[in-house]
């Protein structure tokens, strides 16, 4: 079967799909939900693509998208593709008072991608002046309102399956965002594997998603896959979900959604925030695939979700755990649909000390539960390798922990404009994931990031586990904790450091809190924490998408720069005002003083 480009997939869907199929954009409840059939999407995206061409953009030019509204994002994204442009999805500036960090990151992405145009809303455009000034390749920042009302005809570009479709910027825990290059063939291959093999897509399936579209899971999973497979999808705004998680479940009920996805935290958020009365009359029994991925899946989270929502028809058999990464388009393995989350129960000390996953019974004192993510898709391979196996010559036997590496048609072309980085991502034809894990009965079982594992007396500890136990202490900011190891004074063993954020400023309160963190980790994992450090909120370094940067935190700790580091509170209103002003001024300067041609 030949690979369709994304544009061809849209044309096919417009021609062949029933007119009742397409995207529904869920607004606030009580408001109408605009629906676009695939034919309607083809028409709308054609106008957006024509408007982009009218800006003077040419085939292969990158165009950055900062569009919080799903409909505008989709029309611009698909329009750009059909015009032969390479879209670069970026997240919108929506953090509370974090403009400076946002702009810094936006400059990096626009600069690295060499984007010639950036499409955004007129509200956000006001804030992006310094980005325009700092990026010489960027010729225009365009308000989407102007594109929306344009009536230029699209001149469809000739695009082939091996052309780069778009750049997906991902932020690692150790580096600045890197631009993953995905071809149309990558997308077609991964979407086919996900939908046919992974989900076993069937007639009557309906997708429901609140996932951000500037992220691979939302964009590929719930915009592109439905296009290739011609299934209807209802899309909610991620912010609506974060404000009121019940909206996700209510939309699933209303649209009889069968397939929906979320990271582990989304399921935890529902348990914490959804009140039973918000779900009155809601029936979740159609939901047959409740997918989890993108971050480690915790068995206890899924159990809590099942307990809370089975009264509304949710079946725990719907849980599907998946494994993948942006460098491999989206997914590489799915646990079998219809079987629920399946855990591998292994002996903790043997896993940590010897890197061996030895099965034990669930009630064993030292049992550890790890979620199985299924077998790799057809044509794809996943194996564990010793980290120093630079050419991937010796795959490790089953149940031996190593670095997970992938091979197959979903693997990216490389990182955009970065040969060295692209080369270092590969090892003898295999994509290095940086994730630790093992293979059991042919299934992949991930257990952490390899560079971040802490080794104490030959035992491996995963930072996620240490942080999870620390986060149970009241007064510690959950999710704002970094655990890492540093060399001991004699280099004999690693010292274990936990840095946690707390709003409590009193010296005494902080000492007490540090003591509680130590005991929580001691009790939970039998691990002694050598140093527990309280810092103010915002001190721990994160990527602008909110991922904790443990290795950077470690460097700062070693440089004794953590406690002296300015939390955001030290950056006063004046700074914000200055940054805003600078941003708007340089925007005005580029516009009216003609420092650079407008187009």
């Amino acid at each position: 079967m030949s690979d369709l480009t994304i544009g061809e997939a849209l044309e096919e869907a417009a021609k062949r799909a029933e007119p009742t199929r397409g995207y529904t954009f869920v607004r606030d409840e009580g408001q109408a939900e605009p629906f676009f059939s695939f034919a309607g999407v083809e028409r709308a995206s054609g106008r957006y693509g024509g408007a982009l061409q009218a800006l003077g953009l040419r085939r292969g030019d990158r165009v950055a998208l900062v569009l919080p509204e799903s409909d505008e994002f989709i029309f611009t994204f698909l329009g750009a593709l059909r015009a032969g442009l390479v879209p670069v999805p970026m997240y919108p500036p929506l953090g509370l008072g974090q403009l400076a960090g946002y702009l810094d990151n936006a400059k990096h992405i626009v600069g690295r991608s060499g984007a010639r145009a950036l499409v955004t809303t007129s509200n956000i455009k006001r804030l992006l002046g310094t980005v325009e000034a700092a990026c010489p390749t960027l010729r225009s920042v365009v308000a989407v309102e102007a594109i929306r009302s344009a009536r230029e005809a699209l001149r469809p570009a000739k695009v082939g399956p091996d052309d780069v479709a778009f750049l997906q910027f991902t932020s690692g825990s150790t580096s600045r965002p890197k631009g993953v290059m995905l071809t149309h063939a990558n997308i077609a291959a991964n979407v086919r594997a996900i939908c046919r093999e992974g989900l076993g897509l069937r007639e009557g399936d309906v997708g429901v998603s609140w996932l951000p579209l500037y992220h691979d899971m939302g964009l590929i999973g719930f915009v592109l896959a439905p296009l290739y497979e011609r299934i209807p999808v209802a899309l909610l705004s991620p912010f609506a979900f974060l404000r009121r998680p019940a909206l996700w479940l209510r939309a699933l009920g209303r649209h009889r959604g069968t397939v929906s996805y979320g990271p582990n935290f989304a399921y935890a958020l529902c348990v914490k925030r959804v009140r039973p009365r918000e779900l009155e009359g809601i029936d979740l029994s159609a939901w047959r695939v409740a997918g989890c991925g993108a971050e480690p899946v915790r068995a206890e989270t899924l159990r809590a979700f099942e307990e809370a929502f089975s009264p509304f028809g949710f079946s725990p058999k719907a849980f599907v755990a998946s494994y993948g990464l942006a460098e491999s388009t989206l997914a590489a393995a799915f646990s079998p649909v219809g079987q629920g989350a399946r855990v591998d129960v292994v002996h903790g000390p043997t896993l940590w000390q010897d890197g061996m996953a030895r099965p034990v019974s669930r009630d064993h004192d030292e049992a550890v539960e790890l979620v199985r993510c299924g077998r790799p898709f057809e044509g794809h391979q996943i194996a564990a390798f010793a980290e120093d196996d630079a050419e991937s010559e010796r795959p490790l036997p089953e149940r031996v922990v190593g670095e997970l590496r992938l091979k197959g048609p979903s693997t990216m072309r490389g990182y955009f404009d970065d040969r060295d980085l692209s080369a270092s991502a590969m090892a003898g034809g295999w994509l290095r994931t940086g994730d630790l894990g093992y293979v059991a009965d042919g299934e992949v079982v991930p257990c952490g990031r390899s560079k971040e594992v802490i080794i104490v007396n030959g035992r491996n500890f995963y930072p996620h586990d240490i942080e999870w136990f620390s986060g149970q202490v009241e007064g510690v900011r959950k999710g704002n904790i970094a655990a890492f190891g540093v060399d001991g004074p004699a280099g004999d063993r690693e010292r274990v450091v936990v840095v946690f954020e707390t709003p409590l400023m009193g010296e005494r309160e902080r000492v007490v809190l540090a003591g509680r963190v130590r005991s929580a980790v001691q009790e939970g994992l039998g691990l002694t924490v050598d140093d527990a450090v309280a810092v103010a909120p915002g001190v721990l370094p994160k990527t602008s998408s909110g991922k904790l940067q443990r290795l950077l935190a470690r460097r700062l700790y070693l440089a004794k720069a953590l406690s002296g580091r300015d939390p955001p509170r030290a950056q006063d209103r004046l700074d914000l005002a200055k940054e805003l002003l600078r941003s708007q001024l340089s925007y005005v300067a580029t516009r009216t003083l003609g420092q650079r041609p407008a187009r």
Binding site: L94, L96, L99, R243, G475, G479, T502, P503, G506
Partner: protein, 97 residues
């Protein structure tokens, strides 16, 4: 519009509104932490982005005022949020409940 003649700044939040909002905020911070209108929401009070979203949902429920997503960048302190709520209430023409 519920103008209060004794106040200099008609845009200022009423003391009742301030008290109620601070009480909402207090439910999300550890006991013993002082909250004022000067406190920065993410910095001093340590609210993470998920908690902030939860707080805004409560604001919407309690005061009937939605805080638009594209205003978030401009908000830093408790006072910033309060003023925005007060302005929204005024724009709606209703007095704070």
């Amino acid at each position: 519009m519920a103008a209060e003649p004794e106040r200099d700044d008609p845009a200022a939040p009423t003391p009742e509104l301030e008290r109620e909002f601070l009480a909402l905020v207090a439910r999300h911070v550890p006991a013993g932490l002082e909250i004022s209108t000067e406190s920065t929401v993410a910095g001093d009070l340590g609210l993470d982005s998920l908690t902030i979203m939860e707080l805004f949902a409560e604001v919407e429920e309690r005061f009937g005022v939605a805080i638009a997503d594209d205003r978030l960048m401009e908000l830093r302190t408790v006072g910033d949020v309060l003023r925005l709520i007060a302005a929204e209430l005024r724009a709606r023409g209703g007095a704070p409940r």
